[in-house]
Protein backbone atom coordinates (compact mmCIF):
# COMPACT_ATOMS: atom_id res chain seq x y z
CA UNK A 1 0.00 0.00 0.00
CA UNK A 2 1.16 3.49 -0.74
CA UNK A 3 2.07 5.57 2.26
CA UNK A 4 -0.07 8.60 2.91
CA UNK A 5 2.67 10.67 4.52
CA UNK A 6 6.41 10.34 4.70
CA UNK A 7 6.22 10.47 8.48
CA UNK A 8 4.82 6.99 9.01
CA UNK A 9 7.01 4.54 10.93
CA UNK A 10 6.91 0.81 11.15
CA UNK A 11 6.22 -0.09 14.77
CA UNK A 12 8.06 -3.01 16.26
CA UNK A 13 8.50 -4.27 19.80
CA UNK A 14 12.09 -5.35 19.50
CA UNK A 15 14.20 -5.46 22.64
CA UNK A 16 15.66 -2.09 23.55
CA UNK A 17 19.41 -1.71 23.26
CA UNK A 18 21.43 -0.71 26.31
CA UNK A 19 21.60 2.93 25.27
CA UNK A 20 17.84 3.03 24.83
CA UNK A 21 17.32 1.33 28.15
CA UNK A 22 19.16 3.92 30.19
CA UNK A 23 16.98 6.62 28.58
CA UNK A 24 19.69 9.27 28.95
CA UNK A 25 20.62 9.81 25.27
CA UNK A 26 16.96 10.10 24.35
CA UNK A 27 16.35 12.49 27.25
CA UNK A 28 19.24 14.70 26.22
CA UNK A 29 17.99 14.67 22.64
CA UNK A 30 14.53 15.72 23.78
CA UNK A 31 15.95 18.44 25.98
CA UNK A 32 17.92 19.87 23.07
CA UNK A 33 14.74 20.00 21.02
CA UNK A 34 12.81 21.82 23.74
CA UNK A 35 15.71 24.20 24.27
CA UNK A 36 15.68 25.04 20.58
CA UNK A 37 12.01 25.88 20.86
CA UNK A 38 12.76 27.97 23.93
CA UNK A 39 14.69 30.41 21.78
CA UNK A 40 12.71 30.07 18.59
CA UNK A 41 10.27 32.63 17.27
CA UNK A 42 6.92 32.49 19.05
CA UNK A 43 3.82 31.49 17.15
CA UNK A 44 1.59 33.65 19.34
CA UNK A 45 1.23 37.36 18.72
CA UNK A 46 0.32 39.99 21.33
CA UNK A 47 -3.22 40.27 20.08
CA UNK A 48 -4.81 43.60 20.90
CA UNK A 49 -1.58 45.56 20.33
CA UNK A 50 -0.51 43.56 17.35
CA UNK A 51 -2.83 42.19 14.73
CA UNK A 52 -2.34 39.56 12.15
CA UNK A 53 -2.47 40.79 8.61
CA UNK A 54 -5.61 39.68 6.88
CA UNK A 55 -6.00 38.76 3.29
CA UNK A 56 -7.49 41.65 1.32
CA UNK A 57 -10.58 39.59 0.60
CA UNK A 58 -11.00 38.37 4.20
CA UNK A 59 -14.60 37.47 4.98
CA UNK A 60 -15.53 39.03 8.30
CA UNK A 61 -18.39 41.16 9.62
CA UNK A 62 -20.92 42.18 6.98
CA UNK A 63 -21.74 45.68 5.87
CA UNK A 64 -24.93 46.92 4.20
CA UNK A 65 -23.80 49.48 1.66
CA UNK A 66 -25.30 52.84 0.78
CA UNK A 67 -25.01 54.30 -2.66
CA UNK A 68 -23.18 57.52 -3.48
CA UNK A 69 -26.16 59.62 -2.45
CA UNK A 70 -26.31 57.91 0.91
CA UNK A 71 -29.37 55.78 0.16
CA UNK A 72 -29.56 52.20 1.37
CA UNK A 73 -29.04 49.85 -1.53
CA UNK A 74 -30.83 46.83 -0.10
CA UNK A 75 -34.25 46.24 -1.57
CA UNK A 76 -35.26 43.40 0.74
CA UNK A 77 -35.53 40.93 -2.08
CA UNK A 78 -34.54 38.13 0.28
CA UNK A 79 -32.10 36.49 -2.11
CA UNK A 80 -29.34 36.64 0.47
CA UNK A 81 -31.53 34.93 3.03
CA UNK A 82 -32.37 32.20 0.53
CA UNK A 83 -28.75 31.77 -0.44
CA UNK A 84 -27.52 31.61 3.13
CA UNK A 85 -26.61 28.01 3.97
CA UNK A 86 -26.69 28.74 7.68
CA UNK A 87 -30.03 30.52 7.62
CA UNK A 88 -28.51 33.39 9.48
CA UNK A 89 -30.37 36.22 7.76
CA UNK A 90 -33.89 37.41 8.49
CA UNK A 91 -35.59 40.53 7.25
CA UNK A 92 -38.90 42.33 7.16
CA UNK A 93 -39.62 44.32 4.03
CA UNK A 94 -41.46 47.62 3.88
CA UNK A 95 -42.65 49.92 1.13
CA UNK A 96 -40.93 53.22 0.60
CA UNK A 97 -43.27 56.17 1.38
CA UNK A 98 -43.20 59.30 -0.75
CA UNK A 99 -40.54 61.62 0.64
CA UNK A 100 -38.23 58.83 1.65
CA UNK A 101 -36.44 58.73 -1.70
CA UNK A 102 -33.33 60.16 -0.10
CA UNK A 103 -33.21 57.23 2.34
CA UNK A 104 -33.90 54.19 0.22
CA UNK A 105 -32.80 53.59 -3.32
CA UNK A 106 -35.54 51.18 -4.33
CA UNK A 107 -39.29 51.26 -3.77
CA UNK A 108 -39.07 48.43 -1.32
CA UNK A 109 -36.58 48.37 1.53
CA UNK A 110 -35.68 46.29 4.57
CA UNK A 111 -37.32 47.71 7.66
CA UNK A 112 -35.60 45.05 9.75
CA UNK A 113 -32.49 43.26 8.61
CA UNK A 114 -30.77 40.92 11.02
CA UNK A 115 -27.82 38.59 10.72
CA UNK A 116 -27.14 36.14 13.50
CA UNK A 117 -23.36 36.23 13.74
CA UNK A 118 -23.30 32.99 15.72
CA UNK A 119 -25.03 31.12 12.91
CA UNK A 120 -23.14 32.76 10.08
CA UNK A 121 -20.28 30.72 8.68
CA UNK A 122 -18.81 33.65 6.73
CA UNK A 123 -19.12 31.85 3.42
CA UNK A 124 -19.99 35.00 1.48
CA UNK A 125 -22.91 33.44 -0.37
CA UNK A 126 -25.15 36.34 0.64
CA UNK A 127 -22.77 38.70 -1.07
CA UNK A 128 -22.73 36.58 -4.23
CA UNK A 129 -26.52 36.39 -4.30
CA UNK A 130 -27.23 40.08 -3.84
CA UNK A 131 -28.32 41.68 -7.13
CA UNK A 132 -28.12 45.19 -5.71
CA UNK A 133 -24.56 45.00 -4.41
CA UNK A 134 -25.92 45.88 -1.03
CA UNK A 135 -24.26 43.38 1.23
CA UNK A 136 -20.53 42.71 1.51
CA UNK A 137 -18.28 40.91 3.90
CA UNK A 138 -15.43 43.02 5.25
CA UNK A 139 -12.13 42.41 7.03
CA UNK A 140 -13.57 43.46 10.38
CA UNK A 141 -13.74 40.93 13.20
CA UNK A 142 -17.02 40.31 14.98
CA UNK A 143 -16.45 41.40 18.57
CA UNK A 144 -16.80 38.82 21.33
CA UNK A 145 -19.67 39.09 23.78
CA UNK A 146 -20.70 37.54 27.07
CA UNK A 147 -24.23 36.68 25.92
CA UNK A 148 -25.89 35.39 22.81
CA UNK A 149 -28.37 38.18 22.15
CA UNK A 150 -25.89 40.87 21.11
CA UNK A 151 -24.64 38.60 18.34
CA UNK A 152 -27.83 39.19 16.37
CA UNK A 153 -26.72 42.26 14.46
CA UNK A 154 -29.45 44.60 13.30
CA UNK A 155 -29.40 47.42 10.82
CA UNK A 156 -27.87 49.76 13.39
CA UNK A 157 -24.62 47.82 13.19
CA UNK A 158 -24.80 46.47 9.66
CA UNK A 159 -25.64 49.56 7.62
CA UNK A 160 -22.59 51.69 6.98
CA UNK A 161 -22.52 55.29 8.28
CA UNK A 162 -23.85 58.10 6.15
CA UNK A 163 -20.75 60.24 6.51
CA UNK A 164 -18.75 59.71 3.28
CA UNK A 165 -15.55 59.75 5.35
CA UNK A 166 -16.70 56.79 7.42
CA UNK A 167 -17.96 54.58 4.60
CA UNK A 168 -16.67 51.02 4.70
CA UNK A 169 -14.29 50.27 1.87
CA UNK A 170 -15.22 47.08 0.01
CA UNK A 171 -13.27 47.75 -3.16
CA UNK A 172 -11.20 44.60 -2.58
CA UNK A 173 -14.31 42.44 -2.87
CA UNK A 174 -16.38 44.59 -5.20
CA UNK A 175 -14.11 44.27 -8.21
CA UNK A 176 -15.02 44.67 -11.86
CA UNK A 177 -15.09 40.94 -12.41
CA UNK A 178 -17.55 40.52 -9.56
CA UNK A 179 -19.78 43.16 -11.09
CA UNK A 180 -19.62 41.54 -14.51
CA UNK A 181 -20.48 38.21 -13.04
CA UNK A 182 -23.53 39.67 -11.36
CA UNK A 183 -24.76 41.43 -14.46
CA UNK A 184 -24.23 38.40 -16.71
CA UNK A 185 -27.57 37.22 -18.04
CA UNK A 186 -26.32 33.66 -18.31
CA UNK A 187 -26.79 33.18 -14.57
CA UNK A 188 -30.03 32.30 -12.94
CA UNK A 189 -30.24 35.34 -10.72
CA UNK A 190 -30.47 37.72 -13.69
CA UNK A 191 -33.00 35.89 -15.81
Amino acid sequence: MEKLTNRSRVVSDKKMTFLEKIYLPAIVKGMIITLKHFFSKKATINYPEQKREFSKVYRGQHVLKRDDLGRERCTACGLCAVACPAEAITMIAAERKPGEENLYREEKYAAVYEINMLRCIYCGDCEDACPKEAIFLTDRIVASQYHREPFVYGKDILVEPLDPEKRIDVSARQTESVRNFKLNKRFAHNK
Binding site: I27, M31, T34, S40, K42, T44, N46
Partner: protein
Protein backbone atom coordinates in the same frame (compact mmCIF):
# COMPACT_ATOMS: atom_id res chain seq x y z
CA UNK B 1 23.22 32.25 75.00
CA UNK B 2 24.19 35.63 73.79
CA UNK B 3 21.42 37.98 72.69
CA UNK B 4 22.92 39.30 69.48
CA UNK B 5 23.16 35.79 68.12
CA UNK B 6 19.55 35.12 68.99
CA UNK B 7 18.35 38.32 67.34
CA UNK B 8 20.55 37.74 64.33
CA UNK B 9 19.27 34.19 63.90
CA UNK B 10 15.66 35.31 64.18
CA UNK B 11 16.10 38.02 61.58
CA UNK B 12 18.01 35.71 59.31
CA UNK B 13 15.34 33.06 59.72
CA UNK B 14 12.69 35.50 58.54
CA UNK B 15 14.81 36.58 55.61
CA UNK B 16 15.26 32.98 54.53
CA UNK B 17 11.55 32.33 54.95
CA UNK B 18 10.69 35.36 52.83
CA UNK B 19 13.26 34.52 50.19
CA UNK B 20 11.98 30.95 50.03
CA UNK B 21 8.41 32.12 49.59
CA UNK B 22 9.44 34.71 47.04
CA UNK B 23 11.44 32.25 44.99
CA UNK B 24 8.62 29.71 45.16
CA UNK B 25 6.15 32.38 44.10
CA UNK B 26 8.18 33.40 41.13
CA UNK B 27 8.89 29.77 40.28
CA UNK B 28 5.22 29.46 39.45
CA UNK B 29 5.63 32.40 37.11
CA UNK B 30 8.88 30.96 35.77
CA UNK B 31 7.27 27.61 35.25
CA UNK B 32 4.52 29.10 33.14
CA UNK B 33 6.96 31.19 31.16
CA UNK B 34 9.31 28.27 30.54
CA UNK B 35 6.40 26.06 29.55
CA UNK B 36 5.11 28.70 27.20
CA UNK B 37 8.47 29.39 25.62
CA UNK B 38 9.13 25.71 25.06
CA UNK B 39 5.77 25.40 23.34
CA UNK B 40 6.36 28.50 21.18
CA UNK B 41 3.92 30.55 23.21
CA UNK B 42 4.48 33.73 25.20
CA UNK B 43 3.21 32.88 28.66
CA UNK B 44 1.60 35.29 31.12
CA UNK B 45 2.37 38.87 30.06
CA UNK B 46 -0.71 40.88 30.98
CA UNK B 47 -0.47 41.44 34.75
CA UNK B 48 2.17 44.12 35.19
CA UNK B 49 5.29 44.46 33.06
CA UNK B 50 6.13 41.09 31.48
CA UNK B 51 3.33 39.62 33.57
CA UNK B 52 5.46 39.95 36.70
CA UNK B 53 2.43 40.50 38.92
CA UNK B 54 0.89 37.22 37.78
CA UNK B 55 1.88 35.27 40.95
CA UNK B 56 0.15 37.93 43.06
CA UNK B 57 -2.97 37.69 40.94
CA UNK B 58 -2.87 33.90 41.28
CA UNK B 59 -2.52 34.22 45.03
CA UNK B 60 -5.47 36.58 45.26
CA UNK B 61 -7.50 34.22 43.10
CA UNK B 62 -6.66 31.31 45.40
CA UNK B 63 -7.76 33.27 48.47
CA UNK B 64 -11.01 34.38 46.87
CA UNK B 65 -12.09 30.86 45.90
CA UNK B 66 -14.76 29.14 47.85
CA UNK B 67 -13.44 26.93 50.59
CA UNK B 68 -14.97 23.47 50.32
CA UNK B 69 -14.51 20.65 52.80
CA UNK B 70 -16.38 17.57 51.58
CA UNK B 71 -18.98 16.26 54.02
CA UNK B 72 -17.56 12.76 54.03
CA UNK B 73 -14.01 13.95 54.57
CA UNK B 74 -12.28 13.76 57.91
CA UNK B 75 -12.20 17.43 58.79
CA UNK B 76 -9.16 17.53 61.05
CA UNK B 77 -6.97 15.40 58.85
CA UNK B 78 -8.21 17.21 55.76
CA UNK B 79 -6.82 20.45 57.15
CA UNK B 80 -3.73 18.78 58.59
CA UNK B 81 -2.59 17.46 55.20
CA UNK B 82 -1.68 20.70 53.44
CA UNK B 83 -0.34 22.14 56.69
CA UNK B 84 2.17 19.32 57.01
CA UNK B 85 3.12 19.58 53.36
CA UNK B 86 3.79 23.30 53.71
CA UNK B 87 5.56 23.13 57.08
CA UNK B 88 7.97 20.38 56.17
CA UNK B 89 8.71 22.05 52.87
CA UNK B 90 9.70 25.21 54.71
CA UNK B 91 11.63 23.49 57.50
CA UNK B 92 14.35 22.10 55.30
CA UNK B 93 15.81 25.50 54.49
CA UNK B 94 17.19 25.75 58.01
CA UNK B 95 20.27 23.59 57.53
CA UNK B 96 21.29 24.83 54.11
CA UNK B 97 24.39 27.00 54.19
CA UNK B 98 23.30 30.02 52.19
CA UNK B 99 26.69 31.66 52.32
CA UNK B 100 30.02 31.88 54.12
CA UNK B 101 30.77 34.14 57.06
CA UNK B 102 29.85 37.78 57.22
CA UNK B 103 31.53 40.23 59.62
CA UNK B 104 29.44 43.02 61.09
CA UNK B 105 31.05 45.29 63.68
CA UNK B 106 33.89 42.89 64.38
CA UNK B 107 31.59 39.95 65.02
CA UNK B 108 31.32 37.00 62.72
CA UNK B 109 27.94 35.73 61.62
CA UNK B 110 27.47 32.59 59.60
CA UNK B 111 24.89 32.60 56.81
CA UNK B 112 23.47 29.30 57.94
CA UNK B 113 20.74 29.05 60.51
CA UNK B 114 21.69 25.75 62.09
CA UNK B 115 24.89 23.91 61.37
CA UNK B 116 23.74 20.45 62.38
CA UNK B 117 26.45 17.85 62.27
CA UNK B 118 23.91 15.52 60.66
CA UNK B 119 22.52 18.10 58.26
CA UNK B 120 21.91 15.65 55.42
CA UNK B 121 19.96 13.30 57.64
CA UNK B 122 17.82 16.22 58.79
CA UNK B 123 16.99 17.03 55.18
CA UNK B 124 16.00 13.44 54.59
CA UNK B 125 13.89 13.32 57.70
CA UNK B 126 11.97 16.40 56.61
CA UNK B 127 11.47 15.09 53.10
CA UNK B 128 10.14 11.82 54.51
CA UNK B 129 7.70 13.62 56.76
CA UNK B 130 6.58 15.62 53.74
CA UNK B 131 5.04 12.51 52.25
CA UNK B 132 2.66 12.34 55.23
CA UNK B 133 1.17 15.62 54.13
CA UNK B 134 0.23 14.11 50.81
CA UNK B 135 -0.85 10.79 52.28
CA UNK B 136 -3.01 12.24 55.01
CA UNK B 137 -4.56 14.76 52.65
CA UNK B 138 -5.34 12.13 50.04
CA UNK B 139 -6.70 9.67 52.53
CA UNK B 140 -8.78 12.17 54.49
CA UNK B 141 -10.51 13.34 51.30
CA UNK B 142 -12.48 10.09 51.21
CA UNK B 143 -12.24 10.05 47.43
CA UNK B 144 -10.91 7.14 45.42
CA UNK B 145 -8.83 9.29 43.12
CA UNK B 146 -7.29 11.12 46.02
CA UNK B 147 -6.58 7.82 47.75
CA UNK B 148 -4.93 6.44 44.64
CA UNK B 149 -2.81 9.54 44.40
CA UNK B 150 -1.82 9.24 48.04
CA UNK B 151 -0.89 5.56 47.70
CA UNK B 152 1.14 6.29 44.63
CA UNK B 153 2.90 9.16 46.36
CA UNK B 154 3.75 7.00 49.34
CA UNK B 155 5.12 4.05 47.41
CA UNK B 156 6.96 6.28 44.97
CA UNK B 157 8.61 8.27 47.72
CA UNK B 158 9.63 5.19 49.67
CA UNK B 159 11.12 3.55 46.60
CA UNK B 160 13.10 6.56 45.53
CA UNK B 161 14.23 7.53 49.00
CA UNK B 162 16.22 4.30 49.12
CA UNK B 163 18.20 5.07 46.02
CA UNK B 164 18.56 8.68 47.09
CA UNK B 165 19.91 7.70 50.48
CA UNK B 166 22.37 5.31 48.91
CA UNK B 167 23.65 7.91 46.48
CA UNK B 168 24.27 10.08 49.53
CA UNK B 169 26.17 7.28 51.26
CA UNK B 170 28.66 7.31 48.41
CA UNK B 171 28.91 11.07 48.71
CA UNK B 172 29.51 10.81 52.42
CA UNK B 173 32.33 8.34 51.75
CA UNK B 174 34.06 10.94 49.60
CA UNK B 175 33.49 13.87 51.95
CA UNK B 176 33.70 12.06 55.26
CA UNK B 177 31.09 14.30 56.87
CA UNK B 178 27.33 14.58 57.25
CA UNK B 179 27.34 18.28 57.97
CA UNK B 180 26.30 20.41 55.03
CA UNK B 181 28.59 23.21 56.16
CA UNK B 182 31.54 20.85 56.15
CA UNK B 183 30.63 19.41 52.76
CA UNK B 184 30.46 22.84 51.19
CA UNK B 185 33.72 23.91 52.81
CA UNK B 186 35.45 20.92 51.27
CA UNK B 187 34.34 21.88 47.75
CA UNK B 188 36.34 25.09 47.82
CA UNK B 189 37.05 26.62 44.41
CA UNK B 190 36.21 24.24 41.60
CA UNK B 191 36.59 21.16 43.77
CA UNK B 192 32.94 20.26 43.27
CA UNK B 193 31.56 16.88 44.21
CA UNK B 194 29.93 16.34 40.84
CA UNK B 195 33.39 15.64 39.42
CA UNK B 196 33.93 12.91 42.00
CA UNK B 197 30.41 11.49 42.02
CA UNK B 198 28.90 11.89 38.54
CA UNK B 199 26.89 8.69 38.80
CA UNK B 200 25.78 9.54 42.32
CA UNK B 201 24.67 12.93 41.06
CA UNK B 202 22.55 11.41 38.31
CA UNK B 203 20.89 9.04 40.76
CA UNK B 204 20.32 11.83 43.25
CA UNK B 205 18.88 14.10 40.57
CA UNK B 206 16.47 11.45 39.33
CA UNK B 207 15.36 10.71 42.87
CA UNK B 208 14.96 14.41 43.58
CA UNK B 209 12.54 14.65 40.67
CA UNK B 210 10.60 11.72 42.07
CA UNK B 211 10.65 13.07 45.63
CA UNK B 212 9.29 16.44 44.61
CA UNK B 213 6.56 14.81 42.49
CA UNK B 214 7.74 16.62 39.42
CA UNK B 215 7.28 15.35 35.90
CA UNK B 216 8.19 12.84 34.59
CA UNK B 217 7.40 11.34 38.02
CA UNK B 218 4.25 13.31 38.83
CA UNK B 219 2.08 10.23 39.12
CA UNK B 220 0.49 11.22 42.45
CA UNK B 221 -1.29 14.09 40.73
CA UNK B 222 -1.49 12.57 37.31
CA UNK B 223 -4.42 14.53 35.92
CA UNK B 224 -5.14 12.26 32.98
CA UNK B 225 -5.85 9.25 35.17
CA UNK B 226 -6.60 10.55 38.63
CA UNK B 227 -8.43 13.85 38.04
CA UNK B 228 -6.15 15.78 40.38
CA UNK B 229 -4.54 13.00 42.38
CA UNK B 230 -4.22 13.59 46.10
CA UNK B 231 -5.57 17.13 45.89
CA UNK B 232 -8.71 16.30 43.91
CA UNK B 233 -11.00 17.40 46.72
CA UNK B 234 -9.02 20.46 47.73
CA UNK B 235 -9.96 23.98 46.86
CA UNK B 236 -9.02 27.53 47.71
CA UNK B 237 -5.86 28.17 49.68
CA UNK B 238 -5.56 24.58 50.89
CA UNK B 239 -5.00 23.60 47.29
CA UNK B 240 -2.73 26.61 47.03
CA UNK B 241 -0.66 25.24 49.94
CA UNK B 242 -0.17 21.91 48.19
CA UNK B 243 0.83 23.53 44.94
CA UNK B 244 3.00 26.04 46.71
CA UNK B 245 4.67 23.33 48.78
CA UNK B 246 5.65 21.64 45.55
CA UNK B 247 7.44 24.77 44.39
CA UNK B 248 9.12 25.26 47.75
CA UNK B 249 10.26 21.66 47.60
CA UNK B 250 11.63 22.27 44.17
CA UNK B 251 13.55 25.30 45.43
CA UNK B 252 14.88 23.46 48.45
CA UNK B 253 15.92 20.39 46.50
CA UNK B 254 17.66 22.64 44.00
CA UNK B 255 19.47 24.21 46.93
CA UNK B 256 20.38 20.80 48.34
CA UNK B 257 21.66 19.60 44.98
CA UNK B 258 23.68 22.78 44.54
CA UNK B 259 25.07 22.35 48.04
CA UNK B 260 25.95 18.70 47.75
CA UNK B 261 27.22 18.50 44.19
CA UNK B 262 27.91 21.99 42.87
CA UNK B 263 29.96 23.46 45.67
CA UNK B 264 27.24 25.49 47.38
CA UNK B 265 28.37 29.10 47.70
CA UNK B 266 31.87 28.38 46.41
CA UNK B 267 32.98 30.26 43.36
CA UNK B 268 35.86 29.25 41.16
CA UNK B 269 38.85 31.64 41.19
CA UNK B 270 37.44 33.60 44.12
CA UNK B 271 40.78 33.49 45.97
CA UNK B 272 42.61 35.15 43.09
CA UNK B 273 40.32 38.19 43.13
CA UNK B 274 41.66 39.38 46.49
CA UNK B 275 38.33 40.68 47.82
CA UNK B 276 37.42 41.29 51.44
CA UNK B 277 35.72 38.56 53.45
CA UNK B 278 32.27 40.18 53.28
CA UNK B 279 32.43 40.74 49.54
CA UNK B 280 33.45 37.14 49.00
CA UNK B 281 30.54 35.96 51.12
CA UNK B 282 28.02 38.11 49.30
CA UNK B 283 29.34 37.11 45.88
CA UNK B 284 29.26 33.49 47.00
CA UNK B 285 25.64 33.75 48.09
CA UNK B 286 24.72 35.33 44.78
CA UNK B 287 26.53 32.60 42.95
CA UNK B 288 24.75 30.01 45.08
CA UNK B 289 21.41 31.47 44.09
CA UNK B 290 22.43 31.44 40.46
CA UNK B 291 23.17 27.74 40.79
CA UNK B 292 19.82 27.19 42.47
CA UNK B 293 17.97 29.06 39.74
CA UNK B 294 19.84 27.02 37.17
CA UNK B 295 18.71 23.83 38.89
CA UNK B 296 15.12 25.09 39.03
CA UNK B 297 15.32 25.77 35.33
CA UNK B 298 16.54 22.20 34.82
CA UNK B 299 13.54 20.95 36.80
CA UNK B 300 11.19 22.87 34.53
CA UNK B 301 13.10 22.02 31.40
CA UNK B 302 12.75 18.31 32.17
CA UNK B 303 9.10 18.70 33.05
CA UNK B 304 8.24 20.24 29.71
CA UNK B 305 10.36 17.77 27.76
CA UNK B 306 9.52 14.35 29.10
CA UNK B 307 6.16 12.62 29.17
CA UNK B 308 4.98 11.00 32.38
CA UNK B 309 6.21 7.52 33.24
CA UNK B 310 3.81 4.65 33.48
CA UNK B 311 3.50 3.33 37.02
CA UNK B 312 5.25 0.02 36.36
CA UNK B 313 8.03 1.84 34.52
CA UNK B 314 8.43 4.09 37.51
CA UNK B 315 8.76 1.17 39.90
CA UNK B 316 11.05 -0.68 37.49
CA UNK B 317 13.32 2.31 37.21
CA UNK B 318 13.41 2.78 40.97
CA UNK B 319 13.91 -0.78 42.15
CA UNK B 320 15.65 -2.45 39.24
CA UNK B 321 17.55 0.51 37.87
CA UNK B 322 18.50 3.09 40.41
CA UNK B 323 18.96 0.98 43.54
CA UNK B 324 21.43 -1.50 41.97
CA UNK B 325 23.23 1.43 40.40
CA UNK B 326 23.41 3.20 43.74
CA UNK B 327 24.77 0.07 45.43
CA UNK B 328 27.32 -0.28 42.66
CA UNK B 329 28.25 3.35 43.15
CA UNK B 330 28.81 2.82 46.88
CA UNK B 331 30.94 -0.23 46.21
CA UNK B 332 33.02 1.48 43.55
CA UNK B 333 33.55 4.55 45.73
CA UNK B 334 34.39 2.42 48.74
CA UNK B 335 36.91 0.29 46.88
CA UNK B 336 38.48 3.34 45.30
CA UNK B 337 38.92 5.11 48.63
CA UNK B 338 40.08 1.95 50.38
CA UNK B 339 42.96 1.56 47.97
CA UNK B 340 43.87 5.22 47.62
CA UNK B 341 43.86 5.61 51.40
CA UNK B 342 46.11 2.57 51.77
CA UNK B 343 48.71 3.78 49.32
Amino acid sequence: MDWTILIYKTIFLFIILLVTLLVAMYSTYGERKVAAFMQDRRGPNRAGPFGLLQPLADGVKMFMKEEIIPLSANRALFILGPSIAMTTALLTGVVIPWGGIITIGGREFSLQIADLNIGILYVFAMVSIGVYGIMIGGWASNNKYALYGAIRAASQMISYELAMGMSIVALVITTGSLSLHEIVAQQHGMNWNIFYQPLGFLIFLTCAFAETNRAPFDLPECETELVGGYHTEYSSMKLGFYLFAEYINMFISSAVIATLYFGGYNMPFIDQLGLSQNAVTLLGTMFFFMKILGMIFLFMWIRWTLPRFRYDQLMNLGWKGLIPLAIFNILATGIFYYFTELS
